[in-house]
Symmetry: C2
Subunit: 406 residues, 2 copies
């Protein structure tokens, strides 16, 4: 089928147009690609063929120059791409520049600068609190409703969808163990999240206001913040998660620009506590910061959870304001995760920790029971968002297979 | 004085030769420099003038290519530099390539990949435990003696010595406050640390053994992990420090290669708990991992503390083994901090939190009392290590001035 003839209702139709970086199979050259249906347009080659002024942003081995170019340029490039792939006049020129998805290698689409992970789902935070701190008076820590809690993760181990995940080894200590033991993690888990990609940097000392979110953030992707619960439980007091998370974080190969998600914007849940002004998204002139993304978590092809992103208490705009309120600067390529997405229902929980209540209630999968991940398991996150005229905007999936500890 | 005539006993004599990146005043071009006394040798120009095979590693705007080149290359380059600056035959050639320190701008010497901070001083950890968790049965958390606790910090806000530090704003909540308040930090602190710079990267899934430390780590520098204690205290449960640290981390402009510190190597304190094999530095064939660095902390020129690095419980080699034991990969330019260096004596504490016992006992400085840092305060860390034949090896100082919140 020629590339322009995307089936009606395809979630990767011309209303979507996410960006990635690909190499044609057999080549090592990296190029910016735009996904249309199950094809990839070589965006730099298209810009050259059509004499586009955006050639310098697109004929690159990474999305970073486009990310840095800013909101006006993002809009112009998107408008140009939309016209290219919908105008029959360009068909003959562009057809040779499309590659079937099955014939390309997809790469990490941008150079990750700093990676931050948040903890923004109230359902997730309450579930984790009940599992790990059953005796605490409240399942939320006292600060939870006052600020989006976050921490820095390891940028160097962010990997693209499809990369195998080696089961991490480390120390763990059960309540009955007199001393910690060493070995492969026996509580390897999923965290279904959404990642936000920063484009426009800031200077040190200059916070980003809540209303400036879309001047800085280019787009989003699915993110699996793999977590070794046994390693994490032993190490995380008092300075937070470290080796329980740093072995791998998987992101989708496609970055969906925020502009493709205009129809998915939604109000976040009602705030139960008054917010300080820099986080107050009920203030006049502030746009609703939520996104209605319907996530699906599958283990070996079997859907185990459908977390709704619209239930997140803290928005990505609030997270950006929080991350910079102390004057910390942003760089092009900064990535921040939403935190595990968990809805109020049992089938909406974004981690096995919650789905199996720390292993107490294993899942019944067609290929056996699962408390936590086993070697060979393949985890796939996928998602869609409401688009214009009843369409769906597909997010790039993020998948990874667990391979045995070395 | 001509550059070769470094005074006898100068801690930056030809036995030291730390690396940095400089621009001659008025120029924006960055070049690798080597410090000799109070002069900087343009290393790339020297390599070119002398026809050195190491020209490609030195004629760069950053140390990263040299860092990535590996231990054999590090040794060769150091041997070449030593011969250049000590052999009178090169004097005429090299003299024009020296710049007085006072006539150059010094830059961040390498591109920071990931930044990790540890917590390796037992004295510091016990002091902090007593201040923040006075009711806990032990001032150390149960994991402390079993693994070097660490967490990821913000790589994008690592700045070079001399960069002003803007007082961060953020949320804080005193015990009597019904809700958090927002404003500039009122408990801005120092953390005197040593930073280790990774040169040779690793693949995902491949831990670094304790004995391979010097195959991967190029050198060290002083590091001030500025900390806003009030912001940190409110935010850090349960995921660790974030905005209380991420506004700035200052490093010295000079990276001292490990090879310059052979005479400073020392055994770490006796281990009170048996260690798992991957951390056991008492095992046969493992070299002593401690370094005898004598640090000095000055506020506005007044020395307030002299922390001895030799008292650190966990070594840099153990920290590297810990950081990678889960398979996390290393990148050239990874930086990790030792954690605040505090000795057993009151005058050896590396933070104001400890020196003033969380503000209870302010310091008496010539210009007034100090519980925490005030706007305009200049903090300077300096240090030396024993060198060959009774010499001292100077570490580059790290200094920063507090400027008011914006």
């Amino acid at each position: 089928m020629p590339p322009f003839d995307v089936p009606e209702g395809d979630p990767f139709g011309p209303h979507n147009l996410p960006y990635g970086v690909f190499s044609p199979s057999g080549s090592r050259e990296r190029r910016v690609g735009v996904r249309l249906g199950d094809q990839v347009l070589d965006a730099g080659a298209a810009a050259a063929a059509l004499g586009s002024p955006h050639h310098a942003l697109l004929a690159r081995p990474t999305l970073n120059p486009l990310l840095a170019a800013g909101r006006a340029a993002w809009s112009e490039v998107r408008a140009a791409l939309t016209s290219w792939v919908t105008d029959p006049a360009h068909r003959e020129t562009l057809e040779p520049l499309f590659h079937p998805l099955s014939e390309v290698d997809l790469h990490l689409p941008f150079e990750v600068a700093d990676y931050v992970d948040f903890y923004a789902s109230e359902n997730h935070a309450r579930n984790v609190g009940k599992v790990f701190r059953p005796d605490a008076p409240d399942s939320l820590t006292p600060n939870w409703k006052h600020l989006p809690i976050g921490y820095h993760g390891r940028a160097g181990t962010v990997v693209v969808s499809g990369t195998d995940v080696v089961r991490p080894s480390g120390q763990r200590k059960g309540p009955a163990d007199p001393a910690p033991v060493f070995g492969p993690s026996i509580r390897l888990d999923i965290e279904a999240e959404v990642g936000f990609v920063v484009g426009v940097p800031t200077e040190l000392g200059a916070p980003v206001a809540l209303g400036d979110f879309r001047e800085h953030v280019f787009g989003l992707c699915l993110l699996n913040d793999w977590s070794a619960r046994d390693i994490q439980a032993w190490e995380y007091v008092p300075l937070g998660p470290f080796l329980g998370k740093s072995f791998a974080t998987s992101v989708s190969a496609w970055i969906t620009p925020l502009e493709a998600l205009e129809h998915a914007r939604t109000a976040p849940p009602e705030r139960t506590h008054p917010l300080l002004p820099y986080l107050d998204d009920a203030a006049p002139g502030i746009e609703p910061g939520g996104y209605d993304l319907r996530i699906s978590v599958a283990v070996n092809g079997h859907v185990v959870s459908e977390p709704p992103f619209s239930t997140m208490y803290w928005t990505a705009a609030q997270q950006l304001a929080q991350m910079t309120v102390n004057g910390a600067s942003l760089r092009t390529g900064d990535l921040y995760g939403s935190g595990t997405v968990s809805g109020p229902d049992e089938h909406q929980r974004g981690s096995l920790l919650e789905l199996t209540w720390n292993g107490r209630d294993p899942l019944d999968l067609p290929d056996g029971k699962r408390a936590f991940l086993e070697d060979g398991d393949v985890v796939t996150l996928s998602a869609w968002a409401p688009g214009p005229n009843g369409t769906r905007v597909g997010l790039g999936e993020v998948t990874g297979r667990i391979v045995p500890s070395v």
